[in-house]
């Protein structure tokens, strides 16, 4: 059995960032990757996908974006190239085509069953991401089999869909992007909208991520957030990384001709039923956006930036058709495809250690898994800050967790059976200095 000090599972941006940190700290490790580096970006995303974040935010340990389009948005394919180069630059010890089948505790740490081999490690970092599987609601089973069913993982482009109407369920980033793309292909789209996060792509001449970064929203720590459970379940904002930096909110989709309906409730007698609460759902999203814009304006004024920025303004409220349909006949032939843009879940099904809560989520304190000393997780939403879900946030998180892992290794040598230490304050992320932002 191979023995190493640390095993990192997943060679995406989070796993590679952690690998670089471990190398910097001279901790011997391997990175296990079921495919090739950046596998999910390669094989589980649709070709027209671009990052939500502008290129200047593509930061990894020892690497900053140096291309000629800092305000653009990297296509998924380009990110794959970036990560492949980064893996070489970082000298990451990646074992590709290696599938982890089980991770268990063992004397001195953990046993990892990968392909047909067993590895032993004193520490394990789970870096398989938050989007390993689509979260498909049980209601999907009630749709007639004659309707083609797709998820964001199986979707590639509108050409693979039959002609006819498409029901897109879910209006987060994925939902609005794909609703727009599919509708433009001549297939009329109905978009079922539940709770969502509305943000403009640009405000007062800057990308919305510039504001999120500058005002400190992205740096908000998990132990400072009001309702952490809620924050970790927020849908991704309705943003698209298009070359035109267009805003892709519900008003933009309505203007395109997409039909907006309320949250999908259930299927009854072959009829899909939508909530009548659409108007309030949209009001809530508008109010939340306006609260953020007000915060951005206050911050700009306090920093004396009003002179150099275009003036503050607000966006039109989301227009809701008061007669928006409450049901759709699924057997009438109007809908030939349903796309479940209903979110993603991580996949840690091979983790054979009892570290989950009642809802099946891994319990952790800023990425330090509770109840399993030496076990860490990266890449989950609001893991340590609101930026954790983005590339630069995972990169930042990897530093603190690598420090913790280091400390764990050296203290474990002195004290046998120590319990997972609480993350000391100095390892909590420091508030970002807005002056260094672009």
């Amino acid at each position: 059995m191979m023995k190493t000090t640390a095993v990192v599972i997943g060679a995406g941006h989070a796993g590679l960032a952690m690998s670089r940190r471990l190398t910097e700290r001279s901790i011997d490790h391997v990175v296990l990757e079921r495919g090739e580096v950046a596998n999910s970006w390669r094989t589980q995303r649709w070709p027209s996908l671009r990052l939500l974040t502008p290129n200047w935010l593509t930061r990894l340990p020892g690497y900053d974006y140096a291309g000629d389009d800092p305000d653009g948005y990297l296509p998924a394919g380009s990110l794959v190239d970036v990560l492949a180069r980064y893996a070489r630059f970082a000298g990451a010890p990646v074992r590709a085509a290696t599938t982890v089948h089980a991770v268990r505790t063992a004397p001195g740490g953990f046993e990892i069953q990968a392909n047909d081999d067993m590895l032993h490690a004193r520490a394990v970092v789970l870096a398989t991401g938050a989007c390993a599987r689509p979260a498909i609601p049980a209601i999907a089973g009630a749709f007639p089999p004659s309707i083609t069913a797709l998820t964001p993982v199986t979707y590639r482009d509108p050409g693979q869909l039959p002609g006819g109407g498409v029901l897109v369920v879910g209006a987060s980033a994925t939902g609005v992007q794909l609703a727009g793309e599919i509708h433009r292909s001549g297939r009329p789209v109905t978009l079922a909208v539940g709770e969502h996060v509305r943000l403009p792509r640009r405000y007062r001449g800057r990308d919305v991520f510039w504001w999120l970064h500058a005002t400190g929203v992205l740096a908000e720590r998990y132990d400072q957030v009001d309702d952490l459970t809620r924050a970790r379940h927020l849908p991704s904002p309705q943003l698209t990384g298009s070359p035109q930096a267009a805003t892709t909110d519900l008003n933009a989709l309505t203007a395109q001709g997409v039909r907006i309906v309320g949250r999908l409730g259930r299927v009854s007698n072959g009829l899909a039923q939508f909530s009548g609460s659409l108007a309030n759902t949209c009001s809530l999203a508008d109010l939340k956006m306006n609260r953020f814009l007000a915060r951005a304006d206050e911050w700009a004024t306090a920093r004396g930036l009003d002179g150099e920025l275009p003036p503050p303004h607000r966006f039109a409220p989301t227009r809701v058709d008061p007669r928006s349909p409450l049901e759709l006949d699924l057997s009438g032939g109007e809908i030939t495809t349903v796309l479940w843009a209903t979110g993603f879940r991580p996949d840690h099904s091979w983790l054979d250690i009892p570290v989950r809560d009642r809802a099946g989520h891994i319990r952790h304190d800023g990425g330090v898994v509770t109840g399993a000393p030496g076990l860490y997780v990266l890449g989950l939403p609001v893991l340590r800050t609101r930026a954790s879900t983005y590339i630069h946030g995972a990169a930042t998180d990897s530093e603190a967790l690598a420090d913790h892992l280091c400390s764990f290794l050296s203290s474990e040598r002195r004290w046998q059976g120590i319990r997972s230490p609480r993350l000391p304050a100095r390892w909590l992320p420091r508030p970002s200095d807005p002056a260094t932002a672009r």
Partner: protein, 186 residues
Amino acid sequence: MTITDRPVDNGVNVQALLDARDALSAAPQAAQFTWRASCTWRNGTHSQSTVAGFTGLGTEQQHRTTYEFDVDHPECFASEDNGATPVEFVLVGLVGCLTAGVAAVAQHRSIQLRSVTATIEGAMNILGILGADPEVRNGFEAITVRFAIDADASREDLEALIAQSQKRSAVFDVVTNPTNVLVELA
């Protein structure tokens, strides 16, 4: 800005609700409530319903007193108008739930309410319930609620108040989303 800063009091014990949320999250069985009413037919379209007890927090509970409701239809329906119609009870339920929510959220957000009134209207085409037109539904075509709130808060704050009230309203959910209803014979 007042010289004496009185604490906001809309009469809602928000702390108790927050404590309950924490306690019940840890003991989810106790959060399972069953609300009940029983109904006795009197004559024609007139019935009387009573609400006395409910199950919750792991045990049988009783209201302070037994509440009684006459339910009937109006004379233009060839009835005797011994009480409000069932659909009017639904409107009362919805506006009462939303108004309670406004008070609770205002308390939580330290907004002192001076007065809150609301009117609620449900548009209905009765060809539906008369079975005269299969394209027409039995229920409301639309419900509109109009709140008039006098409080020390901006218009945006008050809009946020009513949005949050809808977001956490039981009857709003009952009315806007599908609910399974099973009716059986003893």
